[in-house]
Every structure is written in C-alpha cells, then in structure tokens.
Subunit: 119 residues, 2 copies
C-alpha cells in the first residue's frame, strides 16, 4: 500500500499518449498520461472515461462541440461518445477507467497500446 | 457532459466527513469530501478505496502504521484493510470508489450516511 505522488511520477514518463498504470482498484485503472498535439477521434463501446487535468490544459473535441479542461478540472466522457483529446502544449492527465479500456477505443492504429507500463 | 472544477466545488461543501457525489462512471463514484479531525477505524468488505488529496494533508492510520498523504498524492486502501483518516487541519479529498461504498464501511454509527448529495 504505497502512496503515489503525481509531481514525482509524471516527470518520469517519457513520450506522449502512452498511459502508465499508477493503481488498480475495483477492476478500474488509474493511469497517468502526457498529452501533446492531437490524438484521434474514437469512442469506447463499454467504458466511461474520466480525464482529470493535473497540469496544463486539454481541449476535448466532440463531434459538434469542444470543452476546455484546465488543471484542477475533470470531465467524464460516457461510453459511445466520439471524442478526441487535443493539447497545444504538454498536458498531464490522470485517467480513471476500467482495466479493460484500450487507449484508442474502437480503433486500432499506430497509437494503439495493448500492454501498458506501470509507474 | 459537464466538467467539474475542484477549486469551485469544494468551497460549496459544508461540513466534514460528508462525501458529495461529483460523477458516476462504470459503477464507480467520484466523491468530494472535506476531512477535519479524526474519523473512525473501519474497513470495506468488498470495496477498494482511493483517496486523492486536493488541498491540505491527510494522515491515514492503519492498525500498526500510518501514511501521510499530501496535496497531489493519492493512496489506495484495499478492501478488508482497517483504516482511519485523520486531518489536523481541513483537508480536501477526492474519493474514487464503487457506488455501493458506505462511508463507514462495516460500521453503522453517527457518521454513517446512506444518502449522499451531489455537487
């Protein structure tokens, strides 16, 4: 039972769009990920996904709208909703989602990661 | 699909040890709660519980040890583990746990809340 310090763990993460598992509980994962640039539109068939911004800011694009998520804010994207995270500058994000969640949801492409490292 | 701003929501919460539901996803709740003073030793039979400190600091007491959790840190207390949160000064905590979780776990006492308000 070890605590996790976000300010210490994020700097150890190299690369963007590569979530690391920080904790597992009740079949869910807490993941830490750095975003920079634009990801890709996708949805998750069976998983709701929470994005909590730890540092920087994130723009979550939806099909007909977008929402800015600043540090200290979070949003839950329900299953089935097409979304694309975008970060003009590097943004640190804590994700809560089921352990089964694939980062690219319904897509399999060059961003897809089937094995995640742990912090 | 609304974002939640932690710095705006916590000041609206009155009282201590009264979690408010901020979001629901995948059968889990994200709750916001203010701690001050000592709670009570308890455990959750079937639920792991995550405590992320947003402001202040929290001491998590276990039966033979304790862990200080500072702002920007989190800990997961696994199901079955006796624990008692203590905060000398007011501490703001984000909880992530199954929707079924009772705040006092295996105990029913004056702290027990069966109906939680939403932020």
């Amino acid at each position: 039972m070890q605590k996790t310090n976000l300010a210490k763990e994020f700097p150890k993460i190299s690369g963007h769009w590569k979530p690391r598992i920080a904790a597992e509980l009740n079949g869910q994962h807490v993941k830490l990920v750095k975003f920079q640039g634009a990801f890709v539109f996708h949805h998750h068939e069976h998983e709701d996904e929470m994005f909590l911004v730890v540092k920087g800011r994130l723009r979550m694009d939806f099909q007909d709208s977008h929402e800015w998520i600043e540090a200290g804010e979070f949003i839950v994207v329900p299953r089935g909703v097409e979304h694309c995270p975008v970060a003009d500058e590097e943004c640190w994000v804590l994700l809560f989602e089921p352990a089964s969640t694939l980062n690219t949801g319904n897509l399999v492409n060059e961003h897809t990661l089937t094995e995640l490292e742990r912090v």
